[in-house]
Amino acid sequence: MHNFDFVKPASVAEAVKALSADGAQALSGGQTLMPTMKQRLAAPTMLVSLTGIAEMKGVKVDGRTLTIGAATTHATVAKEAAAYPALANLAGGIGDPAVRNRGTIGGSLANNDPSACYPSAVLASGATVVTSKREIAADDYFQGMFSTALEEGEFITAVRFPIPDRAAYAKFDQPASRFALAGAFVARFAGGVRVAITGASEGGVFRWAEAEAALSSNYSADAIKGLSLDPSGMIGDLHGTQAYRANLARVMVQRAVAAS
């Protein structure tokens, strides 16, 4: 790993300043960035740790809205997001306990790994990504694998979730990494159902419109039995063919519906 300067600001304002420097990069839990740096795939000259910023941590409930500070660990969300059980459950299934004690929602969303769990929750919930500069709707935030609407120097400070009436996340583990080989987050609101799929697509997390329509009119696992995703856009690799991924995504949606 190349060397770098390490700073740990105590406020968002300080972090904004630090991250405006050339070669500076945000460090949250480090659970993705550090392995990447070990492989020398990232070589920032300054790391700005966000974990010392109190205002970026914690889970707050306000009516039917749940707000999570970007530097909140997966473990904390699993424990404290009881108002949104599907989300707490998702957080409790990310990686392993040690990863959950360090990894954060902000880091996960900034990274937007195509197999990550959180993006599906954010997209299916229609959450709002709050950054150091602005607020971004989930539908605008995810822009394909490892790519987001975040701009240079901009960082996530919090995520605001509207709490659905019913929701669940179903994940099928990739046997080696235990990330999602396919994962489905289903959220039912008064206005309709949103379905987001992670792990499966070459384009990263996406909404499955057909399933949303079917479930909005008949919220049952059977409603999507006959639906299928086009395998051609799916990831095909040594862990699963495209056809398998397409199938798995549907099965996960059905299981999420059944569990919600």
Binding site: M1, H2, N3, F4, D5, F6, K8, L27, G30, Q31, M34, P35, M37, K38, Q39, L47, S49, T51, A75, G95, D96, P97, A98, V99, N101, R102, S177, R178
Partner: protein, 161 residues
């Protein structure tokens, strides 16, 4: 180089580190605490698990500078005050929960974190909690038994079911 100070196994320690110095390296190279092992470079094997402020973390995936001021506990701090094996360590020995011993420090630290959160875990809860700790020797059978036993449950009866 910057100086970081923290508490390790109850003792105040400090050392010069670079930004990139990992907590695992700080412990192994800086403090001579080589019980914390490094088994991978992708944060998956768990041989390096220690506790930071009471929580299990992978010390290969934490910068030493990021946990300055914290209280760290390693395998070297798990024995009783008189030097005898702690309850979890003893259960690992009693139930042959280790063979080559390389994964063992991480296994013990993860198990300790589990039992702190959940004093009577089920077999399934133990297996899930240890998902980030890879053991190549034991097939996990005796590790799970050891954790059951350390929590005061009848490990032999549960394993025989």
């Amino acid at each position: 180089m910057t100086k970081v100070a923290m508490t390790v196994n109850g003792k105040a320690v400090s050392g010069e580190v670079e930004g990139r110095t990992l907590l695992s390296a700080f412990l192994r190279e800086g403090q001579g605490l080589t019980g914390t092992h490094v088994g991978c470079d992708t944060s998956q094997c768990g041989a390096c698990v220690v506790h930071v402020d009471g929580k299990a973390v992978k010390s290969c995936t934490v910068f030493a500078a990021d946990v300055a001021g914290s209280s760290v506990k390693t395998i070297e701090g798990m024995a009783n005050a008189d030097g005898s094996l702690g309850v979890i360590q003893q259960a690992f020995q009693d139930h042959h929960g280790l063979q080559c011993g390389f994964c063992t420090p991480g296994m013990v630290m993860s198990s300790a974190a589990l039992l702190a959160e959940n004093p009577k875990p089920s077999e399934q809860e133990i297996r899930e909690y240890l998902e980030g700790n890879i053991c190549r020797c034991t097939g996990y059978h005796n590790i799970v038994k050891a954790v059951l036993a350390a929590s005061g449950q009848d490990a032999n009866a549960i394993a025989a079911e």
